[in-house]
């Protein structure tokens, strides 16, 4: 049913329909509306779950770790500093192969303190062994959560749904919220594989010495790689069941005859599509590649759709300080070595909620048409820099 509601509530309603049994979270802006709504649903008896109010994000992640190890379907959500505080547990959850679902309401990280959107937070755990899926809009954010539990439980991998803080979490849009029976038909109950249970004593979380550790990391890496197929399959199943495309590995817009391709993740895709339409009317052929699955990184899919494209610009809301674009690195790596003549530019944009305007994007396209830009920061205020930068 089409409902006009806030992104956070679109997510909380679908999460509730996925029947998580243990939910634990700690308040942090802009994630709070999700947990408030879930707490209400549990409190009113609409959702049969244990909702554990903890004293930190570190404990929120640890509670769901314990609950998942005991066989419950579990959910948590956080952002920014909260995700950084969880960091140690995040790695442990992946290493223990616990299919926990987490929503990251993407936000900048300190210092300076900033509550607005970028992707710096989820980037800090991109190598932790979690699947990371980026939502473009609230419909996709909601839909990805239905898919998330299925993918996580089929792969025994934890999954992070990344949705842009405020831009999505606090935006009201019409969202098609499925019926409970539709979700029940799509998502079977959780059948955990390895749990702590006195009826069948086993040990979880052993330490591994150098004879065994490396293999566990290799197996985890392979599991991530192999999860590409599951992400695609679950996305296709979802389209069959619900009649709309959501998620998957990548999405494209106007790519076929594009001379310049913008590659990005998350909600900025909407703005870029508007720009592409404007430019198209002016006779400029610009296309879009959206990365939905940032981890696992769908290298082959990226190459399949970009192999004939000679002018690519990667626009991303995070930066590896001292190195440059993170997504840009992954895109560059997607092409076989030795392929020459391709221009791949890297733009950092929207850090800490800085507005990304169509005008600025238009200038970016105009510039990359002329030259390859190794690294640029979009819409920097040069006056502030002049005062500080020696």
């Amino acid at each position: 049913m089409l409902k006009y509601l806030e992104g956070s509530h679109a997510v909380s309603q679908v999460v509730a329909m996925c029947r998580p049994q243990v939910i634990s979270a700690y308040p942090i802006t802009p994630q709070t509306h999700i947990v408030e709504d879930l707490a209400r649903l549990v409190g009113e008896g609409q959702l049969d779950a244990e909702f554990i109010n903890v004293e930190s994000e570190f404990s929120a992640a640890s509670v769901v770790l314990g609950a998942a190890a005991a066989g419950a379907r579990t959910y948590t959500t956080t952002t920014s500093q909260g995700l950084l505080l969880m960091n140690e547990v995040i790695y442990c959850i992946a290493g223990m192969r616990l299919p926990i679902v987490l929503t990251c309401a993407n936000r900048a990280i300190s210092a300076p303190l900033n509550i607005w959107n970028d992707h710096s937070d989820s980037m800090t755990v991109r190598d932790a062994g979690w699947i990371q899926l980026h939502a473009e809009d609230n419909q996709e954010a909601a839909d990805l959560h239905a898919q998330a539990f299925k993918i996580a439980e089929q792969t025994s991998l934890p999954l992070m749904v990344c949705m842009d803080g405020f831009i999505l979490t606090h935006a009201f849009e019409p969202v098609d919220i499925p019926e409970q029976k539709e979700i029940d038909a799509f998502l079977p109950p959780f059948k955990p594989q390895h749990i702590v249970d006195p009826r069948w004593p086993r040990a979880l979380g052993l330490y591994a010495d150098p004879r065994f550790y490396m293999e566990t990391r290799y197996i985890l890496h392979r599991a991530l790689e192999k999860s590409e197929q599951v992400i695609s399959r679950v996305s296709a199943d979802f389209a069959k069941s619900f009649g709309r495309e959501s998620g998957g590995l990548i999405k494209t817009y106007n790519l076929e005859d594009a001379e310049v391709v913008i590659v990005t993740m998350g909600s900025i895709a909407g703005t870029i599509k508007d720009l592409i339409d404007q430019l198209s009317e002016e006779g400029k052929k610009v296309g879009l590649l959206q990365i939905c699955s940032f981890r696992p990184f769908p290298k082959q899919e990226v190459y399949r759709v970009l192999k004939d494209k000679m002018n690519i610009v990667v626009l991303e809301k995070s930066v590896s300080l001292g190195r440059g674009g993170i997504l840009a690195s992954d895109i560059r790596w997607s092409f076989p070595r030795g392929e020459k003549g391709r221009s791949i530019s890297s733009y950092i944009a929207g850090l800490g909620g800085r507005n990304i305007s169509t005008d600025a994007l238009r200038e970016m396209v105009a510039r990359v048409e002329k030259e390859q830009v190794d690294l640029a920061f979009l819409s920097l205020n040069q006056e502030i820099i002049a005062e500080r930068d020696l």
Partner: protein
Amino acid sequence: MEISAEELNRVEKKNLFASGHRACGGCGQALAARLVADAAGENTIACVATGCLEIFSSPYPDPNWRIPFLHSLFENVSAVASGVEAAYKILKKGPVNIIAQGGDGSTADIGFQSISGMFERGHNVLYICYDNEAYMNTGVQRSSFTPYGAKTTTTPMGNRTRKKNLPMLAADHGIPYVATATVDDYRDLQRKVKKALTIEGPKYLHVLAPCPLGWGHGGDLTVQICRLAKATCLFPVFEIFYGEISNIQKVPQKLPVEEYLRLQARFKHLFKRGEPTKIVAEIQEIANQNIARFNL
């Protein structure tokens, strides 16, 4: 849940924390972990913090636990146990004994926030702290449970602070049961584990567990050291029900603290040419305060 006096006083030998672990000879923590597992019985989940106990009992592929074992990190065992309890509740799989266990560092220092959260939220979990008074797994560094005067690798001149009083801090959370125990008195320790497991809500059991390596005494003296800790009134043994201290173990024949200190290399610097320094008198004062406070 009721438990008969006979069952409470029975000494349990089930070997649920089986032989084959890799603890040092005379390890107080290994002894305590075995007594705890056997007292708790088969229907128990052991959540263990990173530390000596975890390391000597859970190398892949041969852990020695015969009850379910769950370990993830150093500072989060209370929260992990909270999650296990929540899962058992919602999955209606209980009743089951959930015991979170850790050393003094993971309990009182890095895990203090987590344990406080677990107490405050009221989870039905028994937390057992094996107190060996320093970070032994990393090579004997000072913790907030290191006693006054003790030498560790990070207090080479002797520790200048007094032990954090976690049993009282636990009791002040308003939890139903807090107790202290030592590994020499296995009947008392097992009785307290069994009693705690009959009580709904968070429980805290503080067990003095000597570390021959870190304390500098022979592995054959572990039991003797515990007895002296009690006889010198440096480690009072008691129970607290909903904030009320009770069942204090009286010490009819009190010994001077020197008797306890002289057996351990970590206190050796407190004696110059065999004569006690003023630190020994200060430690005696700590014992005297215990005597007054608990009417030992």
